[in-house]
Each structure stands twice: as structure tokens, then as C-alpha cells.
Subunit: 220 residues, 2 copies
């Protein structure tokens, strides 16, 4: 059985996914065992945070010897739900964040893109060779979610349509939403949600710099 | 003078950028005044959080009357450093997150892409018509940062090169780093950093779903 705790933070989950990616690269490089400090070298995350994150889910490593990489990968994969197929629907082509050809590389293991819907009817039927799918109309949303047993929706529409599309996805029966628009959306409590507002997140830089680099700062 | 507080959280800054985008759309729609509840309708963020965020930076609105949109836009823009030009360099074409043609729409106001560097020498010289720039070699990094007075670096290389490229950007003199890779990086304390690990962030969904949808969950 997997030990899980309801109070595990979203940041811990994000870091677990980062450890998973690093461990996979280490395994591909032929390594079999690793210390938390080596995961740290590959991820930029401190050993103490890594050990604390991992211990939220049980006792993995042996002191001084470290972790078996293949075991740790399977375990983290199980925790993160990577061993299940999650049929995923992409709604919208307004993707400053998502280059369609990179979707499958970028998505975690288990996520399978089942359909891509577009708001612009001029694009319907266009092939996406990398996915072996053609663009479908937003009108098909409910039918596609039902027919393809979709559990996750990626929202990449214009910000003013984000909430409307999210509501339709939830009503159609998806269990999780990833919002990639430049705005935020709300969902009922039973629905999983992650908001990846990258444009707004980048503003943290100009905010910090505008305060720390007075010579470049404009005058009010 | 702008009131700023050192303890303003990154989440508040991200939300301020989301309010900015919403206010801009409201202004374009011909509106001149707004209540926090209307900003809430456009952003999915609760009125009380909006009022609290805005009041971190001073008193803007009039009770019952609301905010002057043009004034609020200028003020938030000033706080977020949008009124300054930030020369930005993009390193790497491994961009599950960034479709190059969308860069300028996606970046906050003030961010100006001054150069795009690639690790793959086969791509050098390729034009990016949307930006009026051609792809340059990673070998030019230091020279480009100096010559074009670059203050911000966007890192979109393979994860195993993320720290190395970040170190070079910092050594070359950039003041802020946005890391778009599937791993994390570290920077000296004087450097601004935002980590947008979208792939790992999406794992929050499968983690939540793997626990809440037992019928779909695989068996250990």
C-alpha cells in the first residue's frame, strides 16, 4: 500500500515529478543507485527537501547507501498516478504555452491526448500528424468527453472563454482541469485543478527587477 | 511613490498580473470604472483576495464606487515593472511551453526579445519572422547579453543543461531568470528567479485523480 497524506502540498507533488524526471535520466545513463545529494545535483533542489518530500510517502532509502533508482521510479510513478492512462482533451489553440508537437513530451507519463478541440471553425479537420488526430469543433466537447472516456481537460482558450470552457468540461464529466490561460478559473471542490498562468508568473521577474535595479526603473 | 512591501508573496504578484490582463480587456470593452467583484468575474479570483492584494500596495478604490480602470492599470503596471523595457534573451528551442510565434503575446508588457540562442548548430541563422531575429549560437551568449543590454534570460533547454545555461547567463550579467525546463535551477540571492515547471505541475492532477478515482487506479 502507498502511504499518502492529505496534507502533502502541491509544491511537494511538483517536486516529486521533477525527481521522477531526473531519476529517469539517471537510469538511462546506466546508474542503478543514487543518494539524495545526486538527485539534488540533477534538480537544483536541496538534499534535505528531497529527503523530506520522499519521506512524506514512506521510507525508501537506506542511510549512506541511498535509493534504488528503478524502485524509486516505480514508487513515485505510482504515487503520481503515472501508471494509469488518463485520457486528456485539449481545448483551444491559444497556446502561448503549448506547442502542439511537443505535447506528448511535455505531458507526464500516462497522459494520453484523445482529442484537440478548437474554437475557430476555419481550423476544423486540420491534421496534427504528431498526434494522429484532426482538430475537432468545440461543439463536440460533450460527445468527445463521453465517447473517449476523457478524465482531464487542458484549457488553452482565450482568457475570456476560460471559465465557460472549464464549466462545460466539468459538466461533461472530466475529473481534472489544467488551466493554461492568462487568467484563473474556479471548479467545484470535487474536481482537481492546476493553474499554470506562465505569463503572469513571469511578471514576478519585472516586479523584482523594477525594485532592485533603480537605474533602469522609470519615474512615476 | 509606490508603496511596496518586501513580504508581498509571489502568488500576489502573479495575481496582480492576472488583474492587469483582465483590466486591459475591460478597458478595451469600453468600461471606465469597476468593482473588485467585476475583476473577480473576469479572473475567477474572489473579491476579498483582490481587495487584499491591491491594498498591499496602497489605497486605490472608493468604497461602493470602485476603481478607475485606467488609473489602476497604470498603477499595477508601475508596480510590476511593465513601464520599463526589459531586454530578454531566449536560450534553447526545447520549448514544450513556448511557441516562438506567441512569445510576444505571452510575455508581459515591457519584455522585449532581443535574441534567441539555440544549442543545435544546424539551426543557426534560421529566421524567426515574427520577431525579426535569426537564431544565434549559444557560443554568442556572453557577447549578446553585453551588446544588447539583456537583463532577463528565459531558459528553455534540455533539463540536464538548465543549470549550466543559467550559470552562464548569471555570469554574463542578467538580473533575472525564468526557467521553463522540467527541472529546477538555483541562482545567487541577488538574482530574480521564477520557475515555471509546467510538466511537473500537471502531475498534481494525476496525483489527485489517482487517489480520488479508485475505479481507474491501477493495482500495486
Amino acid at each position: 500500500m502507498i502511504k499518502t497524506r492529505d496534507d502533502v502540498s502541491k509544491l511537494t507533488i511538483t517536486r516529486m515529478a521533477i525527481y521522477y524526471n531526473a531519476l529517469k535520466r539517471m537510469l538511462e545513463d546506466g546508474e542503478t543507485m543514487c543518494l539524495s545529494s545526486q538527485i539534488g545535483q540533477h534538480t537544483g533542489i536541496s538534499s534535505s527537501i528531497i529527503r523530506k518530500d520522499l519521506s512524506s510517502f514512506g521510507e525508501f532509502g537506506t542511510k549512506g547507501v541511498g535509493y534504488r533508482i528503478d524502485f524509486l521510479l516505480r514508487w513515485i510513478g505510482e504515487i503520481l498516478g503515472y501508471n494509469t492512462v488518463w485520457n486528456t482533451i485539449v481545448v483551444g489553440m491559444e497556446m502561448p504555452l503549448l506547442s502542439i508537437s511537443c505535447y506528448q513530451n511535455f505531458l507526464p507519463p500516462g497522459f494520453r491526448i484523445a482529442a484537440v478541440l478548437d474554437m475557430d471553425e476555419r481550423n476544423y479537420g486540420a491534421m496534427i500528424p504528431e498526434l494522429g488526430l484532426s482538430l475537432e469543433s468545440i461543439r463536440n466537447l460533450e460527445a468527445v468527453v463521453f465517447k473517449k472516456q476523457v478524465s482531464i481537460g487542458l484549457v488553452a482558450v482565450q482568457p475570456e472563454q476560460a471559465q465557460f470552457v472549464t464549466d462545460r468540461l466539468v459538466a461533461a464529466g472530466v475529473a481534472g482541469i489544467a488551466n493554461f490561460t492568462q487568467t484563473q478559473v474556479t471548479v467545484p471542490e470535487s474536481i482537481a485543478l492546476t493553474q499554470i498562468n506562465a505569463g503572469p508568473m513571469i511578471s514576478q521577474l519585472s516586479y523584482d527587477l523594477a525594485r532592485s535595479v533603480p537605474v533602469l526603473q522609470s519615474i512615476v
